[in-house]
Symmetry: C2
Subunit: 250 residues, 2 copies
DNA sequence: GAGGACCTGTTATCATACAACTTGCCGCGT
DNA sequence: ACGCGGCAAGTTGTATGATAACAGGTCCTC
């Protein structure tokens, strides 16, 4: 007769078995994704998890590290493990690594962004409602009246994020989150060089098209806006020659 | 007088400092990304890293776990840490988690895939050369003559991957890698239900359009192919109602 | 009531020991 | 000479126990 726990999360030991850490990681990930801890957002302390899974604290700690690096939870001295918020940071980091290892450039990043943003604009235009229009209006205004570069960027990102949310497809939000994070540095430079007003004009044009309800106009406005951004990027720093076939993609 | 190492990778200790594990992770990531270990693909054993960074093995081990979960290296009993191959697996896994936590569906995934694939088709058509055409031809033939579902899927993925590589933008390859992995299960079912020949026809059409050199035709062929795939997906299992605004995206 | 000292729970790091696995080497037999 | 089995060294996986650093609440003082 086991304890009151429904399932018996006892790990398999012995020769030729999967390492304990992996078993614990998988088990904990399932528990987290099943929503078991959504109420409080807090996990049991590591010591308790040791008992529950019948492993030493080394194992639990390494599992924690792994889950932390997957942005499922955060740990810190003195506090118990906590659920991490839901955002595209993990995607951004894995993409970041691939970028550096594969030798991709800002140009490649911008190419992806253009594809996604245009489609986002199209879908958002089809789903547009009054409330979203209002939020977009507020974002534009904030970007216009922003005092420092930090605020400008935040408002800029907010505008695009609201659009992404309006698609009704959460993946667009996460992917744009990730791309935004990757382009953050360059954006700081381009916007910082007094190009903020240009971006604001682009956003205004998109907003106007959205109000008109004409999907094609929205797409065109977004394309124009992205063309501006790409141009700024080129002016900022030539991304260098684009290698056609890099070795080692397999 | 330090040893022959160029930089002194000594971690900062003391109160209010960044946890040692994080420092080590960052340092090791930089070393890896700088290409220092590209020659052999092997890292020094953990014991040696302990000495080099002046930390205990617990710290090194947790750092290894983290880097492993970022798909930068692989570790295993008895073997020293090795560099991991370059692919979209890490992106796939982080997206997977976001999918489950945000309640996204196969429909949302397919929407993203359509956007990317169409653009891939366009770029690939512009960059097409004889060798790539040949490789695509081989892939189609393999899919046609495949004997089991496994081979069919592999050939199917190969076709789309060759196209992605032909764009000259590595990000397309990685993103498609990730999406393919996420859709693997469903694809196994759809292709398994005797729909392989339909996919082959779609690929043939794309290939023919590519040979003609007409970009628009290529795009149309790809759109038709994706429409087929989307249709199969719907038949397979209704993805359920699409919630417009899910809570907790922020 | 406000502020600070203190105590408890928890994580961070260390040191050490042993088990399990990989790899290459050595010797044995054919 | 060649192959095969097993031994030995190197390396990672797991356990245990101890100490330091930190967060949060409690209680005491003024």
């Amino acid at each position: 007769m086991n304890v009151a726990q429904d399932n018996a999360p006892v790990v398999q030991r012995g020769q030729g078995a999967v390492p304990l850490v992996e078993q614990v990681v998988q088990a904990l990930r399932e528990e987290i994704l099943s929503g078991r801890y959504d109420a409080t957002g807090q996990l049991p302390p590591q010591g308790e998890l040791c008992q529950r899974y019948g492993v030493s604290r080394s194992v639990i700690r390494e599992a924690m590290r792994q889950l932390e690096s997957q942005r499922l939870l955060t740990v810190g001295r003195g506090r118990r493990p906590q659920l991490a918020p839901l955002n595209g940071q993990a995607v951004a980091e894995s993409l970041q690594i691939l970028l550096r290892r594969s030798g991709a450039t800002l140009f490649h990043l911008m190419q992806i962004r253009q594809v996604l943003e245009v489609e986002i604009a199209r879908l958002a235009a089809q789903n547009m409602d009054e409330e979203t229009l209002l939020r977009l209006h507020v974002a534009v205004k904030q970007q216009e009246q922003a005092e420092d570069v930090e605020q400008q960027i935040r408002a800029d990102l907010a505008f695009h994020r609201i659009l992404a949310e309006a698609t009704g497809n959460p993946l667009f939000v996460f992917l744009m989150d990730a791309l935004a994070e990757l382009m953050y540095e360059s954006r700081k430079t381009t916007i910082g060089r007094g190009l903020n007003s240009r971006a604001v004009r682009g956003h205004r044009a998109i907003l106007k098209a959205l109000s008109s309800g004409n999907v094609d106009k929205v797409v065109q406005a977004m394309q124009a806006h992205l063309a501006d951004a790409a141009e700024d990027l080129e002016k900022l720093a030539d991304p260098g020659p684009v290698e056609k076939t890099q070795p080692g993609w397999n």
